[in-house]
Subunit: 293 residues, 2 copies
DNA sequence: CGATCTTACGGGATTCGTAAACATA
DNA sequence: TATGTTTACGAATCCCGTAAGATCG
């Protein structure tokens, strides 16, 4: 038998209104069509559900037995449908993403705030991990998508640029370089630079940059967290190279742009090839692009 | 959207086999038809349920969320269908009937026994009440049908004869009349007869019979229960007129047929006009007819 | 290049609505 | 007799299957 749900709806409509005619208009159906549907349902179940007469329509024992369970069935179905629609309409949902620590403490928080304001029903789970771990998590499906630099091994991963982060020199306000707007990368050769942890993508990028130009990178202090690095600089313990988005906006540090094309680094969405995003993840990606672009 | 159940079945089949092709053969459907059904379901719910690729079909988050509830939904539906089919197949059910006390203690028990052997899953609720109460209970729908004499007020009630009960004279074995096979009704005029209660249909019938013929009915002892009446007769305290089905088969009482057409009384099914019988009640009525006819 | 899912389109079945017949109070 | 349900039948719709197209490994 086909179209069982419609048949059950028809039966319940008749049971509620105790009339084929009323139920028919309620269902936007002709009385004859309704009659046929009830007949089919009865044939399917093997029992007569309704006691018909022109003056009165009433339920048989079998009809009374089935009325409750059928109502519950339609309720359950509605819950499934509405639940999915809520998901689609972002009234509810979960989006998990893995992002570089530099982004988590820099550009991401304001975006996250805006997203949560716009979609309060959607839970965002943010994991701050190093670049290669992002790739792994995306590949394994542990997160909906990643946010970081382009993966080295592109197997099974897609990359889509959403923003360009730029390495800047951060110095204390009273530092000799503080008054300059730009500075050549070569000028930093031999200067002690406060660096982030060895597995961080920023550290990797800085080392790569100096190596490319054949410049000597002189490590100064070293700290795992960017905020620690910033604090060290603020205390006058040296200068550092960090993404410009890391600026905490407190005004006691000065950003000096590096005169070198290589300081740009592309940050993008890392997704599994062949896998679409959930509605919530799709929307988060959209908010991301809107916020940056 | 139409035919939702089929769509859900299709989705679950794909989810289980992780393949459109395998699910298609399982559903006796062409792959293209299956594709369309999944698409319709996804459009209906507003979410994509499956992540398709030629090599691998997997569930999206929404698909995983819906899989369990949808399986439960189909299970509930199956329960409804199977429950109704059980009812129809008499693997289960209830039949309630109201019958005259004379029938309940006479012709009915062996029939009831046979029915319960044949349909052990069907519960029979037997009410022994006087004739007019039977009519009322049938009219109110308190019982599926009644078993008794034709109702005086036929409004809303149908009557269908299933057996003819005959009033017989019961006397002790050593009674002077015990050797006779038949006896004219007039021979009983003036003889003390042990009678049942004043509101019983048998009593009513006996009184009516004597009145019709202008004979004098001499009441002897009186008891409410037929079994009591029989015991009184057995003790040699008199004779009685009772339905021949009341014979308990103990051999210590002798039945003498009355030579009078009026001793036949039609016992039949009393049903509500315009109301069909439940499968269980229908079958019980059938067993009844088979046992008697 | 092979296996698999998707799109396009024609044939067939199902279902709907209109109108007439039927039944009940 | 009037209201409401059922049956009959023509018309529209929907669905399925075949075949060609697209995609990923």
């Amino acid at each position: 038998m086909k179209n069982s749900i419609q048949h059950i709806r028809a039966f319940l409509a008749v049971a509620n209104s105790a009339s084929f005619a009323k139920a028919a208009v309620e269902l936007n159906l002709s009385p004859s069509a309704l009659t046929v549907q009830i007949q089919q349902l009865e044939e399917w179940l093997g029992v007569t559900l309704l006691e018909r007469s022109p003056r009165q329509v009433s339920l048989t024992a079998a009809g009374q037995n089935n009325r409750g369970p059928m109502e519950k069935l339609l309720l359950d179905l509605d819950n499934i449908v509405n639940g999915s629609r809520d998901l689609a309409a972002l009234r509810r949902g979960v989006v998990t993403l893995a992002a570089l620590p530099s982004l988590c403490s820099g550009a991401l928080p304001p975006i996250l705030k805006r997203f949560r304001e716009q979609f309060p029903g959607v839970e965002v789970r943010l994991r701050d991990v190093v670049a290669q771990r992002i790739d792994a998590m995306v590949r394994e499906g542990e997160v909906d998508f990643g946010l970081g630099v382009r993966a080295r091994t592109r197997h099974g991963l897609d990359f889509q640029v959403v923003m360009v982060d730029r390495l800047s020199l951060f110095v204390p306000k009273n530092h000799p370089l503080a008054k300059r707007l730009t500075i050549p990368l070569a000028a930093l050769a031999g200067e002690p630079i406060i660096l982030t942890g060895r597995d961080s993508s920023v550290r990797e990028r800085v080392e790569q940059l100096f190596a490319q130009e054949g410049l000597a990178l002189t490590p100064g202090l070293e700290a795992n967290y960017m905020s620690t690095v910033m604090a060290l600089v603020r205390q006058g313990l040296g200068m550092t190279l960090l993404p410009e988005s890391a600026d905490e906006g407190r005004g006691d540090l000065v950003q000096v742009q590096i005169e070198h094309a290589g300081v740009n680094r592309e940050i993008g969405l890392i997704t599994r090839t062949g896998f679409g995003l959930s509605p919530a993840a799709e929307q988060f990606a959209g908010t991301l692009r809107a916020a940056i672009g």
